[in-house]
Every structure is written in structure tokens, then in C-alpha cells.
């Protein structure tokens, strides 16, 4: 399942949980799923500080497991702390939000392509 606040992702893909909230809200939804036993497929954070300015973020999670994955719970908790720490001082880049929408979609698709042909 893809958890996203990016409307382009919601339009293009099925199995999406879309929120009209912020990136922080999106991360918190992901955290709640991880606490229920779902696992992260893609990392909650992007690969550069500039992408932290993005108003959009899409994260892939896997099927529910019997046990909580503590490592993944740690990753999502740390990511939320880190994200909040950064964005307390900065603001999302609204002027180029359409570009961020596109790049978020393309980075998501690169992650999906890594996961093709797998069953676990």
C-alpha cells in the first residue's frame, strides 16, 4: 500500500491511502500502520535536504505481519523526529509544489521498480 499526500500518486495508482494533510501527517499515518504490524518497504525520508522542503511525500508499506517490526518502528519514529526538527526552522517550498509532485511520483516509481517480481 502507498501512503501519500500527493494527488498525482492517488490518481495514478490503486491501493493508495491518500491524505489531504501535510508530510508530517503522512509520516504519522505511516507510523500508526507500523505500530499495527505493517512493515516499511521504502524509507520515510528522501535522500537530500532539499527534498525535505517538498510539500509531498509517498511511502510504501507492506502487508501486516504477526509481530511489530521494532527496527521499522525505530526508523519511522526517528524519521518523524528528524523531519519535525528540520521543518520547525524551515517551511515547505510552495512555489514549486507542482515540480515536487512530479518528482515525488517519479521517485516512488523508482522504488516500485526495485520491488518488481518479489514475493515476501
Amino acid at each position: 500500500m502507498i501512503i501519500t499526500n500527493n494527488p498525482l500518486v492517488a490518481e495514478k495508482y490503486e491501493n493508495v491511502l491518500w491524505t489531504d494533510g501535510s508530510v508530517e501527517k503522512t509520516l504519522i499515518i505511516v507510523r500508526d500502520f507500523i505500530h499495527q504490524g505493517y512493515e516499511l518497504v521504502s524509507h520515510p525520508l528522501a535522500a537530500s535536504l532539499r527534498m525535505l522542503f517538498s510539500p509531498y511525500r509517498s511511502i510504501i508499506i507492506n502487508n501486516k505481519k504477526e509481530k511489530l517490526n521494532f527496527e521499522h518502528a525505530q526508523i519511522i519514529e526517528d524519521s518523524i523526529i528528524k523531519y519535525k526538527k528540520h521543518m520547525d526552522l524551515r517551511k515547505t517550498d510552495e512555489k514549486t509544489r507542482d515540480d515536487y509532485k512530479k518528482i515525488d511520483l517519479l521517485l516512488l516509481e523508482a522504488a516500485l521498480s526495485e520491488e518488481k517480481g518479489k514475493w515476501y
Binding site: 518497504v41 535536504l49 532539499r50 526508523i75 528528524k82 517550498d93 522504488a111
Partner: protein, 428 residues
């Protein structure tokens, strides 16, 4: 494998009617270069300009920086697998226009920043304020998709570097550096008592604007690959990454990877430098586990005593860096990390997105959150509107006198995680 790098010192740059080097002055035939680049029908318009150290010039948004070179013997000219047919890099002789750089400019997305100031405060923070820069500003035809746009600009920069590099073909270099290393067994026999050290170079490989290529292969698709230390120094690795301005590894920095050069300098003295493992940085957790397992396996298979790991980017790559660290340290392999810090304006916050008890030897390339004040430029090469992107991080960044405040994050190469930059570490 033996590589000779012949450095031709460049002391000035100008545009003219021929492409040549005379008495250290690089002249570039602008018309022929534009014609050459426009052979690619995806390019609508090319603007060529020059920027010299000390000029009150700002270049923004920078996509990549490339060192112009020409192959004299061995392999193929240019970038094998990309601008030339595949060939072995790292052998023979290569002439370098040392002190010159090709800087590609152009918006692919609106939020690119990437600034080079050639003078004043800004110049202190980027190594590319000290190079004689030929800027190549690429405008693509309408209706092109973002992947094709990025590829077009990337190739134009590499082809421009190849074109300009030809000027060094018949010139006697001012200095010749030799990089020679035998097989792992030969070197281990030669230096049986020296610790065996590998270099694991992580590369952003996560999709558009976040890619790296080895011999033209998108490294997102590879398992960690073992390279001879000479290959990257000889055009095997190129950057397709144009977002993390401060800590992305430009193609120029790959060509002059300071970590490789420093390890080479200690080879046979303090260490036995065995080579480089190129490690993809995936965005998926499965990819991070696979790449880290494979890196550990190569380190063990090759019998290394120590590994130096450098990162590219910030955020999810921090996790991958520390996973590699944990796995190698648990195998008893001494692991040194090179990263940069996002430690707040005062430098006092936790520097990485992740931490690990095993990370006991960490070298910092600088604090990306450090704030610098950049005065107005006399001339802007590229897109002056992109300056607003620089100031877009927080309120009040644009000052009354036209200066702007930005974080080092926006300055090209300012906090390099392979050490090719101006910032250093100090213990106190």
C-alpha cells in the same frame, strides 16, 4: 593497472575562434561547441559563457561540474559507455586541463538551487570558485519529459567536456602523476605487514535527479561493484544527481575523488589500498539490506582489515551508511565513515538522521545548516529567478541590501562527503 594523468595547468580562459591551450590560456571555440552540442536535436538553445576566480559572478542553478580531459593512450576518449563506446578506464595516459571546469546550468525542476559564487563570501565555500569555468546553459525543446530533459543536459555537459578536453591532446603536460597498482595478491605480497584497506563509496541511486552511472550503467540496478582505484579517476563514474547541492558528488569530484587519492598516497606506506566498492544507495529498505550485505561480503571475501565508507546525500542514506558500519564492525573490520552533518544553525544538534554505537570513527565534511550571507552579484549566469529558491527556506532570508542568507546546503560541493572541498574538521 597503470594510469598516467598529465596535468596541463590552466591559468586563464577565453572564448575565441579555435579550441586550444597556449601558455596556459584555454581558448574555446564557442560557435563550434554550440554546433556540436546542437547535434542533439532535443537541445533548442545553448548559451556558453565563462566565469573566472574573482569575477563578481554567480552561477545558478548548477547541474553538474566536469573536468575537461582527453585520452592520449589506452581505453577510449571521453566517458566510455556514455559518450564513447565501452572501454576499460584507468589504463594508459589521460591529459587533464587542470584548473578548468565545465559547469552545466539549467532548470530541470523549479526547486534546484546549486550556487557557485566566483568571489567574496560565497567563493570561500565551494572549490569551483577556484576553477576557470566554462558554463554551458542548456535549453531543451518544448514538451520533453523530465527524464529526457535530465539526460539531455547530462550528456551535453559530458560532450562539452570532451570537446574542450581535445585542446590538451598535443600539449606537453606541466606535471605527470602515475597511479599504478598490481593485483590484490601482488600488492599483498609486496606489503604483507600493512593493513588491507578497502574504500566503499556510496552513491545516490534513487531515480530522477538522484542517480549515478558507472560506465553508463544506472547504478540503481547494480549490486555493489568492485572497481580498481584507477577507474573512477579516469572517467568511469558520472553524476546524474542534481538536488543535494552541498554533498552531491559532481562528476568533477568523481574524477578527482579525494578519498581515493588520499588512500593511494598512503598505499605501500601505512596501508595496502585494495580498491573501491561502489555501493548503490537505494530508497527501499530491502535495497539497503541487500547492498549492505553485499558490501560486507566483498569486504570479508577480499580479507580487508579496514574499510572507509563515504556517503552521498542526507536523510535515508544515513540509515544505509550506519547499516554498513554495523555489519562491517561486527565482522571485526575497522570501519571509518565520512559524512556531513545537518546539525542546526549552531552546529550543536544531532548531526545524522540515524545513530549507531558501532560508528566510533566518523569524519565530518561540515555542517550543511551553517548559514552564509551572499552579497548581490554583478552578473548572474543561468536563471536569476533561482536565487529566490535559495532564499525560500525561511522568512527574512532576503536582506535589505540585496544580500541573501542561505544554508551551505545550497552551495555546490560545500560539504563534500568524499573530501573534495574547502571545509575541514577541527578537534577542540
Amino acid at each position: 593497472m597503470k594510469l598516467e594523468i598529465g596535468r596541463i595547468y590552466i591559468k586563464d580562459i577565453q572564448l575565441g575562434n579555435e579550441t586550444s591551450v597556449k601558455n596556459g590560456v584555454l581558448t574555446v571555440d564557442k560557435t563550434s561547441l554550440i554546433a556540436k552540442l546542437k547535434e542533439d536535436d532535443r537541445i533548442k538553445d545553448v548559451k556558453i559563457d565563462i566565469a573566472k576566480p574573482g569575477d563578481k559572478v554567480r552561477i545558478i542553478p548548477v547541474k553538474d561540474v566536469i573536468e575537461p580531459r582527453v585520452k592520449i593512450s589506452g581505453g577510449n576518449n571521453g566517458f566510455p559507455g556514455v559518450t564513447a563506446k565501452p572501454a576499460q578506464c584507468g589504463e594508459g595516459r589521460t591529459h587533464v586541463l587542470y584548473g578548468a571546469a565545465i559547469v552545466t546550468v539549467g532548470d530541470i525542476v523549479g526547486f534546484q538551487e546549486g550556487v557557485i559564487d566566483m568571489w567574496g563570501e560565497g567563493a570561500k565555500w565551494t572549490p569551483f570558485s577556484q576553477t576557470y569555468n566554462l558554463t554551458v546553459d542548456i535549453n531543451v525543446v518544448d514538451g520533453i519529459d523530465p527524464h529526457t530533459h535530465e539526460e539531455t543536459v547530462r550528456l551535453a555537459g559530458l560532450r562539452a567536456a570532451e570537446f574542450v578536453g581535445q585542446a590538451g591532446k598535443d600539449i606537453t603536460p606541466d606535471e605527470v602523476l602515475t597511479y599504478e597498482m598490481g593485483s590484490i595478491f601482488e600488492e599483498s605480497n609486496k606489503y604483507p605487514n600493512l593493513p588491507k584497506v578497502l574504500y566503499a563509496e556510496m552513491m545516490i541511486t534513487q531515480g530522477l535527479l538522484h542517480d549515478t552511472y558507472i560506465y553508463g550503467v544506472n547504478a540503481q540496478t547494480i549490486l555493489p561493484a568492485l572497481l580498481h582505484a584507477n577507474e573512477e579517476l579516469d572517467n568511469a563514474v558520472i553524476s546524474g544527481n542534481c538536488v543535494a547541492a552541498c554533498d552531491k558528488i559532481t562528476t568533477y569530484q568523481h574524477q578527482n575523488n579525494s578519498t581515493i587519492l588520499d588512500l593511494y598516497a598512503q598505499h605501500g606506506k601505512e596501508i595496502n589500498f585494495m580498491g573501491c566498492i561502489m555501493v548503490p544507495e537505494h530508497t527501499t529498505l530491502a535495497g539497503k539490506m541487500r547492498a549492505s550485505d553485499y558490501t560486507r561480503k566483498l569486504v570479508k571475501m577480499l580479507g580487508a582489515d579496514a574499510v572507509v565508507v563515504s556517503e552521498e546525500g542526507y536523510g535515508n542514506p544515513d540509515s544505509a551508511l550506519l547499516i554498513i558500519c554495523k555489519k562491517c564492525e561486527k565482522e571485526g573490520v575497522k570501519t571509518v565513515l565520512i559524512t556531513d552533518e545537518c546539525a542546526g544553525r549552531d552546529g550543536m544538534s544531532q548531526p545524522l538522521a540515524d545513530t549507531a554505537a558501532e560508528a566510533v570513527a566518523v569524519v565530518s565534511g561540515g555542517n550543511v545548516s551553517h548559514v552564509v550571507t551572499l552579497p548581490p552579484a554583478d552578473k548572474v549566469i543561468g536563471n536569476a529567478e533561482a536565487i529566490a529558491v535559495l532564499a525560500g527556506g525561511w522568512e527574512g532570508a532576503l536582506l535589505e541590501d540585496g544580500s541573501l542568507q542561505c544554508e551551505l546546503n545550497a552551495v555546490i560541493g560545500s560539504t563534500s562527503e568524499i573530501g573534495y572541498h574547502n571545509v575541514t574538521c577541527r578537534l577542540y
